[in-house]
């Protein structure tokens, strides 16, 4: 063995390193307790649902090409279309997709051999395919028509049996999410190497920890709400029926007590990814590491106090102002993160890789989504644009411009680790341009039509909005097309991409201190993390990265100087 300046978890012989291969395809199709396999299973499943949800979105935009009802047979059919779009994207794409990255990356970053409860991990994943199938089947019987929020009485009196299946599917997904999150919390708190204190933990782990805390505390409320919905639909109780002493606002309270924190479940891991990607690809330490970690926790906690801002128009008026204030407070920890990201890249040696481009895309889009969020928190404005396309625009800016951009950034960043091959950077840049422009031109004009008064969730609109809607639809088709670029890139790079090596980005976190893809036990010996996960730019950091290179790739020390 060559001399290793910094002790690492290597220690394998050359033959052992070369013997590490990608798992066979059949490994992914059956029950496995390896967190890396489960991570990929989550990822591919979510990607399939992303394609289905995206196709439904194209259907929505096709219908809105003209002000009349033409593509869909009825308003009800349109209702079920956007219901399935929202449900699939939220419950079956974004949330499981973060479980995918969390599963693959978090144990590696912690230097652990697997998650704390491998069997539970596999079980949590295998709840998702049946849940997805149940939900999709609902679309073909008599579909749910109440939107992804399923407000009664729409979901009790008007929707078909698909709504019942919808609730059953959501129940299973909630269970999966709780079990997965328990696993994440225990893994992150218990499985760190002794050298890694909680203040030396990579920021993705901080974000996943905060996310998991939200998921375990909030998701049981979803279970409660869905139980009531199922009982009302199937056994004739009247929890949501005012004629039987029930209350439709009950659903809104319980549902949003879960679903508002759930929007942080969808975006916090993305923020963690951003801290990783921005720091690594601009070769600078994260600015204000502790504050970033703590702001994740602050978002998690404050996120529980804001749910009623979704009910400004239905709430008792005296409760509106307190919820307006708590909602605006959320902007503070979010602002801390934005400030930290700017501070991180400021003066850095920025490499405009595809991952970096998507991370910068996230920053620009999320700041717009965040600002419209504060606008919507302001009561008078919210009542004006309530249920218009302004709201649609806002949450797509945070969920697509935020979460999906971060998912893409994470894909380009960790694909080499997952498959051992680099993704094609040129295709990545083309993908970025199409996604960025397609996204911006799709969703930015929605602010304007929203303020002009175009209501959401209707297939027929005032002909005065036709030009705007044609522009939006055209851009949406471009955005839809851009997905195929990344799918092609994934397929091509999986087979023909250049070999990545252990640490293609010259990063310091532990997932890069093993072969790509990692062997089944992740590390040969217990790895020793570098003292600061983002301490780029020092001689010691360069020595650590070179030690990784020597241990796994036998490359000569790069002459590039300090990293």
């Amino acid at each position: 063995m060559a001399t290793i300046a910094v002790p690492l978890g290597g220690g394998q012989s050359r033959q052992e390193i070369e013997a590490v291969r990608r798992p066979a395809l059949s490994e992914y199709l059956r029950w496995s307790v390896d967190h890396k396999i489960i991570g990929v299973q989550y990822g591919v499943t979510s990607l399939l649902f992303f394609i289905i949800g995206g196709a439904l979105a194209m259907g929505i935009r096709l219908e809105l090409w003209t002000p009349e009802l033409d593509f869909m047979v009825s308003g009800a059919a349109y209702n079920s279309l956007f219901t399935m779009h929202g449900t699939i994207m939220i419950f079956l794409f974004i949330i499981p997709m973060w479980a995918a990255y969390g599963n693959f990356v978090v144990p590696l970053q912690l230097g652990a051999k697997d998650m704390a409860f491998p069997w539970l991990n596999a079980f949590a994943f295998w709840l998702i395919p049946p849940a997805g199938v149940v939900m999709l089947l609902g679309y073909f019987v008599s579909p749910a028509e109440a939107g992804w929020t399923s407000y009664p009485p729409l979901s009790t009196l008007f929707s078909g049996d698909g709504q019942t299946l919808w609730a059953l599917g959501a129940h299973l997904l909630g269970l999966s999410s709780i079990l997965g999150s328990i696993n994440f919390i225990v893994t992150i708190l218990n499985m760190r190497p002794p050298e890694m204190t909680i203040w030396r933990m990579p920021l993705l782990c901080w974000a996943v920890l905060a996310t998991s805390i939200i998921a375990v505390m909030a998701t049981p409320f979803l279970a409660g709400a869905l139980t009531l919905l199922l009982l009302d639909r199937m056994t004739g109780t009247t929890f949501f029926d005012a004629s039987g002493g029930g209350d439709v606002l009950l659903w809104q309270n319980i549902f949003w007590f879960y679903s508002h924190p759930a929007v942080y479940i969808m975006v916090l891991p993305g923020m963690g990814v951003l801290s990783e990607v921005l720091s690594i690809h601009s070769r600078k330490p994260v600015f204000g590491y502790r504050m970033v970690g703590l702001s994740s926790m602050a978002i998690a906690i404050v996120g529980f106090t804001v749910w009623a801002h979704h009910m400004f128009t239905s709430l008792q008026p005296e409760l509106r102002i307190p919820f307006m204030i708590t909602t605006m407070i959320i902007a503070v920890p979010t602002g801390i993160k934005m400030f930290s990201w700017l501070g991180t890249i400021w003066g850095g040696k920025i490499r405009f890789t595809s991952a970096m481009l998507f991370a910068l895309g996230f920053m620009s889009m999320f700041v717009i989504g965040g600002i419209t969020g504060v606008m919507l928190a302001a009561l008078p404005f919210d009542i004006h644009v309530h249920d218009t396309y302004f709201v649609v625009s806002h949450f797509h800016f945070v969920l697509f411009g935020g979460s999906v951009f971060a998912i893409y950034a994470a894909l380009y960043h960790w694909f080499p680790k997952i498959t051992g091959r680099m993704m094609d950077e040129t295709l990545g840049r083309i993908h970025f341009v199409f996604t960025y422009l397609g996204f911006l031109i799709t969703f930015f004009p929605m602010h304007i039509v929203g303020m002009l008064g175009m209501p959401r969730r209707v297939a027929v609109y005032d002909p005065a909005f036709t030009d705007f809607n044609r522009l939006i639809s055209l851009a949406a088709f471009v955005l839809g097309f851009s997905t195929f670029i990344v799918l092609y890139n994934i397929a091509r790079s999986y087979f023909h991409g250049p070999i990545a090596g252990a640490n293609p980005w010259r990063a310091l976190t532990l997932e890069w201190a093993t072969t790509s893809p990692p062997p089944p036990t992740n590390f040969h010996d217990d790895p020793i993390p570098y003292e600061d996960p983002y301490g780029y730019g020092t001689k010691a950091a360069t020595a650590y990265i070179e030690a990784i290179d020597m241990a796994f790739d036998r490359r000569e020390a790069a002459p590039s100087g300090a990293d």
């Binding site: 704390a116 409860f117 709780i178 999150s181 328990i182 696993n183 919390i185 225990v186 708190l189 218990n190 499985m191 375990v216 505390m217 909030a218 998701t219 049981p220 409320f221 279970a223 409660g224 709400a225 139980t227 009531l228 009982l231 109780t237 009247t238 929890f239 005012a242 039987g244 002493g245 029930g246 209350d247 606002l249 009950l250 309270n253 319980i254 007590f257």
Partner: protein, 203 residues
């Protein structure tokens, strides 16, 4: 080169370490599950609470309040059952013995008594109460709790079966099943205490 003896010793140490980590993980995981899933019960309390405001009084006018005697007996039975479980766990830790089996069996019996009374109460809600949310939320909450109590009582029975076959020694590393079942039973008890107060005492 390491000798065979050294390798065996090293393996023993790493096995012990793995067992210690597993126990630590199990305990933390159980605690998180308890804190997490109690929120589902809290959600139903919120349901009960919000629906009360649709009526000028609670129980609604013309509906007789639930009888307190039997449910209180059931609650006491459940409490005692939980205390017995705690004692049984203590006995187990100080060396497995017949006392463990006696206490555990008694705990299961008291748990079954609790559930029998709750089933009786569930089936005997007056028609007047069922016409309002007073009866509806009662059945919702007791039913939801019953499902959990039933599943966890089944786990307790499994553990009894295992203990009868001498599967668990006093060592905490190989009796996690007992400890886990006990903690789930505390959870059932705690959840019921919340429901008991909300359903019967807060008017």
């Amino acid at each position: 080169m390491t000798t065979y003896i050294e390798r065996v010793e090293k393996q023993k140490i790493s096995d012990q370490r793995a067992a210690a980590i597993r126990l630590k993980n199990n305990r933390l995981g159980m605690n998180i599950f308890q804190v997490s899933w109690i929120m589902a019960f809290v959600a139903l309390i919120v349901v009960n609470w919000q629906l009360r405001f649709n009526y000028s009084q609670w129980p609604p006018a013309g509906v007789p309040p639930f009888d307190l005697l039997l449910p209180s007996v059931a609650t006491l039975a459940l409490l005692f059952s939980s205390i017995l479980v705690a004692q049984a766990l203590k006995v187990l830790r100080s060396g497995f013995g017949a006392a463990f089996l006696v206490k555990w069996r008694l705990a299961i019996g008291l748990g079954a008594l609790f559930m029998a009374i709750i089933v009786y109460e569930f089936l005997n809600v007056s028609a007047a109460a069922m016409a309002t949310q007073y009866g509806n939320t009662f059945r919702l909450m007791t039913g939801f709790h019953f499902v959990h109590a039933l599943a966890i009582l089944a786990i307790m029975c499994r553990v009894y079966q295992g203990a009868n076959l001498g599967k668990y020694s006093g060592d905490e590393h190989d009796s996690w099943a007992v400890e886990g079942a006990a903690k789930l039973w505390y959870f059932v008890t705690f959840a019921w205490m919340l429901f008991y107060v909300v359903l019967y005492w807060i008017r």
